[in-house]
């Protein structure tokens, strides 16, 4: 039993290492150009952001509009540390401290605001991230105000991006599958029932909020070091919305959905960068289409798994096999054609009569 599990974990680790090495080699030999490296970096940062927000909004069901605020705490902490200690150790310290500070902010904010529900919580978290942003604008002496901070060196490379992204995904999905994670999910499902079976709902809301904020801080720190430059307005309301869109599109409560949506949306917006106006329109259309046809997001609350893929394959095969029969049926009904609408109206007449 435990042997089988180890084998599975071993294969997973191997696959992760392989994926890392392949991309690393491709970068080394310049097959992945600078342009695509840039996209890759932004995909990774978006994945961290989306997965961490999914823990708060998708799994625990607490609608937060302030994720960019926690991200900015990580970003500024890391940038300020790198400014003083411009080495890779400074960067690592920046990521850790930034994440911890973001988690602490999450704790401070979570305690009072998580008593609120739905729209009220959304507004409170939105207000909070604006407060953080305005603080950064006005703390001139530390943050250089609205002008922002410039960093001389970039420490983030593919290794760090991959490390932080994979750790975020692995740690959060491990958490979600544990008993503590299930406690969070039960809050989303039915808060009253959760309390009745002994779940301390306030505690688990705050825990989810802190873990989510922690990884938002990680994303912010990585972003600051990657981007050379940060300013408060990078972390405004619309950044929070961007992250939320990824989570909703991917599916509330699906980590693999968040990863897919983060990747797809980043690719779309990168390829449409030259036509920024159309980009926003396309974004909106995509959102509307998803909400119409898959209201639960791309993946709903399911995860991508081998079982799901085989099921999908079966369905696809069945669909293809039924193709000729359906075509014949379609041709026939067209051949009958004009009779059909008439039939319908006749039926209606009978009912009315």
């Amino acid at each position: 039993m435990s042997k089988g599990f180890n084998k599975k974990a071993f294969i997973k680790t191997l696959a992760l290492l392989l994926a890392f090495s392949v991309v690393q080699l491709l970068i080394r030999f310049n097959i992945i150009s600078y342009y695509y490296q840039d996209i890759l970096a932004r995909v990774c940062i978006n994945i961290i952001l989306a997965v961490s927000l999914n823990l708060i909004t998708g799994f625990t069901g607490q609608f937060s509009l302030g994720h960019a605020g926690f991200m900015s705490i990580g970003a500024y902490t890391c940038a300020l540390i790198i400014e003083r200690v411009p080495t890779v150790y400074g960067f690592i310290a920046g990521v850790i401290l930034g994440a911890l500070l973001a988690a602490f902010a999450g704790f401070l904010v979570g305690l009072p605001t998580l008593r609120l529900k739905g729209d009220y919580l959304a507004i409170a978290t939105l207000g909070l991230s604006e407060i953080i942003r305005i603080l950064f604008i006005n703390l001139d002496s530390i943050t250089n105000g609205a002008a922002g901070l410039y960093l001389q060196r970039r420490f983030v490379n593919w290794f760090w991006l991959y490390l932080f992204t994979v750790s975020t995904v692995v740690l959060i999905s491990n958490f979600v599958r544990s008993s503590h994670g299930r406690a969070c999910i039960s809050i989303r499902e039915d808060e009253i029932a959760a309390e009745a079976v002994g779940i301390n709902t306030t505690k688990y809301k705050v825990i989810a909020f802190m873990i989510g904020s922690f990884f938002a801080g990680v994303a912010g720190a990585v972003y600051a070091s990657y981007n050379y430059f940060i300013e408060p307005n990078l972390f405004n309301f619309s950044k929070s919305i961007d992250i939320l869109v990824v989570v909703v599109l991917g599916g509330l409560g699906s980590i693999s959905g968040s990863i897919m949506a983060a990747t797809v949306l980043e690719l779309i917006s990168s390829f449409l960068q030259s036509v920024a106006a159309i980009r926003m329109v396309l974004y909106a259309v995509l959102l509307i289409l998803i909400m119409l046809f898959r209201p639960g997001g791309l993946m709903g609350s399911r995860e991508l798994s081998v079982a799901m893929l085989t099921e999908l394959r079966k369905k696809a095969i069945a669909w293809l096999k039924a193709m000729p029969a359906r075509a014949v049926h379609a041709v026939r009904s067209i051949a009958k054609g004009s009779g059909k609408p008439g039939d319908k109206s006749a039926g209606k007449g009978r009912v009315d009569g």
Binding site: N174, F175, S179, E189
Partner: protein, 261 residues
């Protein structure tokens, strides 16, 4: 030996006295019924005992041996962890989760690993998770639900949803189980099956049970003692036979005509 003592419990919503001056004692191992006409305040009593509401006045004491501990006004999760579990009148399952998950969540109280160890799935973590799964399945077997453990709770037929809710309540290993209309919406065959199950789990888990029920055949058959509520106050308390012949109960609960009949 006393397990639960309710003293002069009162709850008012604005001007409405939903529960007024209710006192009751439940001994360890008893199966007690709580009946009364619609709107008598039965569910409010449940909500007060389980901490969903905090009382306007009065005390609720839960005994552990001789030691009594006041639980009124505490949060529901604390009361659950003190050993009081409940089901709901309108089933409140985690509808979009599997049958197994519904029970596993309620076992949270007994989980031994710490928050940090769930990020890295250590061997200790894994054996603990396996224990939770095994115990959950054991529990589901009692209700014949082990074959459906991977189904979503919402897809179960109504009767099985009721059963699952009782299983979930038992997963927190309570001393006192409160059942709020467990037989509501069931046909006679299902009700008979339910009373079998209640008897079985009571013996198996050494439970004390308080149940609200409108189905008199069930109440009279399985309850040892019955409290009757009307307009928020206890109007009678006694064995099923005493209650059956109590005139005040008959008028209040069954209507004036019942006496003539």
């Amino acid at each position: 030996m006393k397990l639960l003592e309710v003293k002069k419990l009162t709850k008012s919503f604005g001007g409405l006295m939903a529960v007024s001056n209710v006192s009751m004692v439940i001994d360890k191992g008893e199966l007690v019924g709580l009946i009364g006409p619609n709107g008598a305040g039965k569910t409010t009593v449940f909500n007060l005992i389980t901490g969903m509401y905090s009382p306007s006045s009065g005390t609720i004491t839960l005994f552990d041996g001789e030691q009594g501990k006041p639980i009124q006004g505490q949060k529901p999760n604390k009361i659950c962890n003190a050993g009081v579990a409940r089901t709901f009148q309108n089933i409140r399952l985690f509808r979009d989760l599997t049958v197994l998950d519904n029970v596993r969540i309620a076992m949270h109280r007994s989980v031994k690993y710490r928050l940090l160890s769930c990020f890295v799935h250590s061997p200790g973590y894994r054996s603990e998770e396996q224990r939770i799964i095994d115990e959950s399945i054991e529990l589901l077997k009692i209700f014949n639900l082990d074959g459906k453990k991977d189904e979503l709770a919402r897809n179960l037929p109504y009767g099985e949803q009721r059963h699952l809710e009782i299983a979930r309540a038992l997963a927190s290993r309570p001393k006192l189980l409160l059942l709020d209309e467990p037989a509501a919406g069931m046909n006679p065959a299902e009700t008979a099956q339910l009373s079998e199950i209640i008897r079985k789990v009571r013996k198996l888990f050494n439970l004390t049970i308080l149940l609200i029920e409108h189905d008199m055949s069930l109440v009279m058959k399985i309850c040892e003692r019955i409290y009757v509520l009307d307009f928020g106050s206890v109007i009678a308390n006694g064995s099923p036979d005493e209650i059956k012949s109590n005139e005040r109960v008959i008028t209040a609960y069954l209507g004036e005509d019942a006496i003539d009949a």
